[in-house]
């Protein structure tokens, strides 16, 4: 409100630039947003309220329409991927809980066979959500876990299968290839099933988030982003930069560590919060 309660001079635009940069929009997207706001100002927008609304509209236009998860016709598969520690396993626990609440039959696949106690962690979430987890021994082939989980999905008339994968840095070619392999197994064993490939992105991520989105997208077609840890003080503006660069929609936001701390992404509310 401090920003919007004053005359439209150059310091206004400088301060706005600092606000957007501080929110992790990055220099490129910030410049584009300010250029668009200047156009609107030239077209006659002058009051602080109108300015704020114009700015929110510009951000919402970049973020796109609210995008739901595509889960029908059942069975659907959701593959959850992203860099280390971003919030994948926790997000899956929350999703499982939500789907069960909606009356869907859910199955989880513990395809992180690498990290210490990853399988145990997912199993605890499975118990909390009241859903079964398909798992193998630690160190086994993740593709074999996915394969088994899909057979179980068909056999047990599951509505949604959610696959947990190991965290991986997008710069590691062998790990990105492993992800491609998991995607191939899903497409081959569940042909025609709706598949959501969700990139879980930590809301505190800076400009590296763009590289993450690009490289994961290059490995397999991403259907959307889960912006986790938005309950912190980071604004998550990297999601705007990614939408601007790749048109990749945020579908869900993580707002805490509890099982119900997951909400559909609301572009307008997000844009408003960004400007606060």
């Amino acid at each position: 409100d401090e920003l919007f309660g004053r005359p439209l001079d150059e310091t206004f635009y400088e301060d706005l630039e600092e606000t957007l940069l501080a929110a992790d929009l990055g220099a490129g997207t910030t410049e584009a947003v300010i250029a668009r706001l200047r156009e609107r100002a030239r077209a006659g927008i002058r009051t602080p309220d109108a300015l704020r609304r114009a700015l929110a509209e510009i951000l919402v236009a970049i973020l796109g329409e609210p995008a739901p998860l595509h889960l029908s016709p059942a069975p659907a598969v959701i593959v959850v991927l992203g860099v280390n520690g971003s919030g994948k396993t926790t997000t899956i626990g929350k999703l499982a809980h939500r789907f069960r609440r909606e009356g869907r039959k859910v199955l989880l696949a513990a395809a992180d066979t690498f990290r210490a106690a990853a399988i145990e962690q997912l199993e605890i979430w499975g118990q909390r959500a009241g859903v079964e987890v398909v798992r193998h021994a630690e160190g086994s082939d993740p593709a074999a876990v996915v394969y088994d989980a899909i057979q179980a999905m068909h056999a047990r008339h599951v509505d949604v299968l959610i696959v947990d994968t190991a965290g991986r840095l997008h710069t590691k070619a062998n790990l990105m290839e492993e992800l491609r392999k998991l995607d191939r197994v899903v497409r081959r064993e569940a042909p025609g099933a709706p598949v959501e490939s969700l990139l879980v992105l930590d809301a505190t991520t800076g400009q590296n988030g763009i590289a993450q989105a690009r490289r994961f997208q290059a490995a397999l077609p991403l259907s959307g982003i889960v912006l986790a840890k938005l309950d912190g003080t980071a604004r998550g503006g990297i999601a705007v930069a990614i939408a601007d660069a790749l048109r990749l929609p945020v579908k869900l936001v993580g707002l805490g560590e509890h099982i119900d701390d997951l909400q559909p992404f609301d572009p307008r509310a997000f844009a408003e919060a960004l400007l606060t």
């Binding site: 600092e18 940069l21 501080a22 929110a23 992790d24 990055g26 220099a27 860099v83 280390n84 520690g85 971003s86 919030g87 690498f114 990290r115 210490a116 106690a117 145990e120 962690q121 605890i124 979430w125 840095l169 997008h170 710069t171 590691k172 930590d202 505190t204 991520t205 800076g206 400009q207 590296n208 988030g209 590289a211 993450q212 840890k229 309950d231 912190g232 003080t233 980071a234 604004r235 990297i238 560590e257």
Partner: protein
């Protein structure tokens, strides 16, 4: 690459005739972009650019044969200076055990780093112990137990109805009786704005008086990192940072920003998921990385 971009900038400027002092600002805009792209905090970048301008004007770089190269030198040396000294190793407390407390946001690599530190200390001939003080994350204790097993270091895990504070206190006592000479305490990820968990951290610190309270920071952290670090620092005074996931391509500007603002050094860097992937901090290498 910054050097190439600056080279292009100065070539274009020279195209209009001789370079002048004002042309420095065009070059400085490129440097600012590079810093922001590297997640250097906006305010830290602004102060940094002002100092670079001063040095560039002082050296009259527009008169040099290769001003682009010279500006990069100035930036690199100023970044290196800001990042501080190379880490010379953890100093053992005069009266053992040395207590190290790891803190930070969720998922930054604390549990993994605890194991790495324990292994590093063991290789140095010390006798470390690990304390599993994360009682909230599912299977966190199990994760540290596995990591401890792999490092060949004993782990103190919660018993009975112990909370994090009681566990930490008991681990310290256990360390003394074993006898171990270093206690590495893994804590739960938490937000600097979570009053309850911040208060818990302060109570843990009170119970074990760490010689090193280290903020474990993800190299890909963005602009909010300084505010976050200040929040932690207010709750438990930080002695240094461990920067993780440097095996990726995140530039690490958030780390520079925290060092510049809090005046606390980076001690170690994490360069992978294996327990051996811990290296001492070298300022010039991180400076080059931030520059891209």
């Amino acid at each position: 690459q910054l050097q190439t971009r600056l080279g292009t900038v100065f070539t274009r400027l020279r195209g209009r005739g001789t370079l002048s002092a004002e042309d420095v600002d065009v070059a400085l805009r490129e440097i600012r972009l590079a810093l922001l792209e590297a997640d250097v905090n906006v305010k830290v970048a602004r102060d940094f650019i002002a100092r670079v301008r001063e040095a560039a004007v002082g050296q009259e770089i527009w008169k040099s044969l290769n001003p682009g190269h010279q500006v990069v030198q100035i930036v690199h040396s100023e970044l290196t200076r800001l990042l501080g000294e190379a880490h010379r190793g953890l100093v053992a407390a005069p009266k053992p055990p040395t207590v190290i407390l790891l803190v930070g946001l969720h998922g930054t690599g604390k549990t993994t780093t605890a194991g790495k530190l324990a292994l590093h200390l063991k290789k140095q001939g010390r006798h470390p112990l690990l304390a599993a003080a994360d009682l909230s994350r599912p299977a966190a204790v199990r994760q540290l137990e596995i990591v401890g097993q792999r490092a060949g270091v004993p782990v103190v895990s919660p018993e009975g109805g112990e909370d994090a504070v009681a566990l930490a206190r008991r681990a310290l006592a256990r360390c003394r009786e074993l006898p171990g000479d270093t206690l590495v305490v893994d804590s739960a990820g938490r937000l600097h704005i979570d009053e309850e968990l911040v208060a818990e951290l302060a109570r843990v610190r009170e119970a074990i008086s760490p010689h090193y309270t280290l903020l474990v920071l993800d190299a890909m952290a963005g602009q909010d990192a300084v505010r976050m670090a200040e929040g932690f620092h207010r709750a438990v005074p930080l002695d240094g940072l461990i920067l993780t996931k440097l095996d990726g391509d995140a530039r690490g500007g958030a780390a520079l920003s925290i060092v510049a603002t809090l005046g606390r050094p980076i001690l170690f860097i994490g360069t992978g998921e294996r327990l051996e992937a811990l290296e001492p901090f070298h300022p010039d290498r991180i400076a080059s990385r931030i520059l891209g």
